[in-house]
């Protein structure tokens, strides 16, 4: 199990669509998953991520669109004809077969002669070789999960699909399995597509994360890129916490920065952060989509009086301070009523109490601009 397989090519989805009667579950997705990558499909329940996965597996028929594996169009093929395997959310282990026979099921279908030996190797990879003769129901949830994983990867599929595989495990086991899954993916080199609603899980495990919402893709990118530069307000609020300041317009003094106007404050914003086609001549047109400036709570600082003046400053009153051990989270009310969340590490820097008047500052490189209705 140590020799990595080379996949025949990337998985490509072109205009992939699925309707259930009147309900549009997946609304035309275009996506390319590079061969050998660990890819996460992230979204809330009902966003169409599982339906997308099932269409790739061949368990659901697309209403429209194509699926390519390398150069091959696999849209019309059946599930049993695809070199794609799935780790099901409920594991779906065959209760009437031993652990070994579960793992060997696919290889025996493929008429592989040394299925027994290869299945034992796969069980060793997930550290369950000593349980091969037991029945699935004699194992714990975490062990069953690993059997399901072994049953899928033993076939060396082009793509491995994982449908919320850690959803049923408790937190500690989930952390262990996240590390385990990552290790196994690197060892076998198969393309993993991991469906989850847990943003932390997606960000810790995947090379690339695709955020889905209401049947379409919001943004695709590396975890850090999605977090630091979310393209939409949806991504900004789904991945971690964000403070979103409604903007009234931009003006352009030239150079690397532009000025954003929010409740009478001029805020410095990096030009590169602006979405394409953003007007820079004062206010926005009537009826145009709303534009927000986003700042993560940990990027906001409480400025002390003797500190060098920050490019961006907003004055407010602390309404709440909650100590969480490694950090303290403040709520700071702005003069226009909005409360901003500020998270400061407990590193001996300035502390504030409820009722204090404070000035918040941030680095213009660490904010982002999103445009559309929330």
């Amino acid at each position: 199990m140590t020799k990595p397989t080379t996949s025949s090519g990337p998985l490509r989805l072109v205009g992939l669509t699925r309707h259930f009667d009147d309900f549009v579950a997946v609304a035309g997705i275009d996506l390319e998953v590079p061969a050998g990558s660990f890819f996460a499909l992230l979204g809330p329940s009902g966003c169409g991520k599982t339906t997308t996965l099932r269409m790739v597996a061949g368990l659901e028929e697309p209403t429209a669109g194509r699926i390519y594996l390398g150069d091959e169009d696999i849209t019309a093929t059946r599930a049993y004809q695809r070199r794609v395997n799935t780790v099901f959310q409920s594991y779906a282990l065959f209760p009437h077969l031993s652990v070994l026979d579960n793992v060997g099921f696919g290889l025996r279908q493929l008429k592989v002669a040394d299925w027994k030996q290869r299945s034992m190797e796969a069980l060793e990879l997930v550290q369950l070789a000593d349980r091969s003769r037991q029945r699935p129901r004699q194992l714990s949830g975490g062990m069953q999960q690993r059997v399901a994983l072994a049953r899928a990867i033993v076939n060396r599929p082009e793509v491995l699909l994982l449908d919320e595989p850690l959803g049923a495990l408790d937190l500690k086991l989930r952390r262990e399995m996240q590390i385990e899954l990552k290790r196994i993916q690197q060892e076998v080199g198969i393309t993993f597509i991991h469906v989850t609603h847990d943003q932390e899980e997606a960000m810790t495990m995947a090379d690339t994360v695709a955020v889905m919402n209401a049947g379409h893709l919001e943004q695709v990118g590396e975890p850090a890129a999605l977090y630091d530069r979310p393209a939409t307000a949806y991504v900004a609020s789904f991945l971690g916490q964000s403070n979103l300041l409604p903007l009234e317009g931009f003006s352009d003094p030239g150079g690397e920065f532009v000025t954003a106007h929010a409740h009478g404050n001029g805020l410095v914003v990096e030009r590169a952060q602006l979405p394409k086609g953003m007007p820079l001549d004062g206010g926005f047109a009537e009826g145009a989509p709303s534009v927000h400036l986003g700042i993560r709570p940990e990027k906001l600082r409480i400025l002390s009086p003797d500190e060098a003046p920050s490019a961006n400053r907003l004055g407010g009153t602390v309404t709440d301070a909650s100590f969480t051990g490694v950090a303290t989270t403040y709520l700071v009310a702005m003069p226009w009523g909005q409360e901003l969340t500020v998270t400061r590490p407990n590193d001996g820097s300035l502390r504030a109490r409820p009722g204090d008047a404070v000035v918040l500052g941030w680095d213009p490189h660490q904010s982002f601009v999103v445009s559309e209705a929330l």
Partner: protein, 264 residues
């Protein structure tokens, strides 16, 4: 008193068991009797006569053979049709599914006298002569509902993800059925088949209506015999049936226990 309190559950349990099993014990004991008259109701003298000559009672073994034949054929046919119907009702949504589910219950809810007499009316109206054929048709009819109900419960409890997992692991639709679906539904099918066999074998009322003048099944024979005198051989057959049923249950339990005890 303390002893009684500790063992009360066991004592009551044994009393209930004794109450349930008493008829079987009496039947078995009296199979070794040598009655003085025509009726085997009073203990007279120990004898192995009935066990050594089980077919000595005229017509009894023929009746027994007919009953076994009818039970095997009707339960086989009912199991095949019933299993197919159970999959359809448990798996698929179609027009008339709700109505079918309800109609399947009617043969179970209908009094046997009503079913037997209306079947006879039907056969007479259609000009079908009563006999083994009409008994078979009637038995398949009323055992079918039990098979459908039993198998449907098993099909409904089957996780559809298991079949999808098999398809995902390169199994064609027919392989999915024989390697995953069938083995998992099999206990339900076996239970349905055994139920159908038992119901067919001991049915008297419906059979009596539709048997015609010359066809005699085992229950009909016993009933007829009890009017004129009860041959000890009836007790022998009863004892064999009881021990046979016990053996089947015992073997099933032993297999189950062995399966659970797979080495770690």
């Amino acid at each position: 008193m303390a002893w009684l309190r500790r063992n009360l559950v066991i004592i009551v349990g044994l009393l209930v068991m004794a109450y349930i099993l008493m008829p079987n014990v009496v039947v078995t004991v009296f199979s070794f009797n040598k009655p003085s008259g025509r009726y085997n109701y009073q203990w007279n003298e120990f004898s192995l006569d009935a066990w050594l000559h089980p077919c000595a009672s005229a017509g009894m073994c023929e009746a027994l053979g007919l009953s076994l034949w009818v039970a095997v054929v009707s339960s086989l046919v009912a199991t095949v049709i019933g299993t197919a119907a159970a999959f359809a009702l448990g798996r698929y949504r179609f027009r008339g599914r709700g109505a079918t589910n309800l109609l399947v219950f009617f043969p179970m809810a209908t009094p046997e006298v009503v079913m037997g007499s209306s079947l006879l009316t039907l056969f007479v109206a259609m000009g079908i002569p009563s006999g083994q054929g009409t008994i078979l048709i009637a038995h398949i009819l009323f055992t079918l509902s039990f098979v459908i109900t039993t198998v449907k419960a098993r099909v409904a409890s089957l996780d559809p993800a298991l079949e999808q997992a098999a398809a995902d692991l390169y199994a064609r639709p027919s392989q999915v059925f024989w390697r995953v679906t069938f083995p998992l539904v099999a206990p339900g099918i076996a239970a349905g088949a055994l139920l159908a066999f038992a119901l067919s074998f001991d049915d008297y009322i419906v059979t009596n209506f539709n048997a015609g003048a010359t066809t005699v099944t085992f229950p009909m024979y016993v009933w007829g015999a009890s009017q004129r005198g009860t041959p000890v051989q009836i007790n022998v057959i009863g004892t064999v049936m009881f021990v046979g049923a016990l053996a089947i249950v015992g073997i099933a339990q032993a297999i189950g226990a062995r399966r659970r005890k797979v080495a770690p």
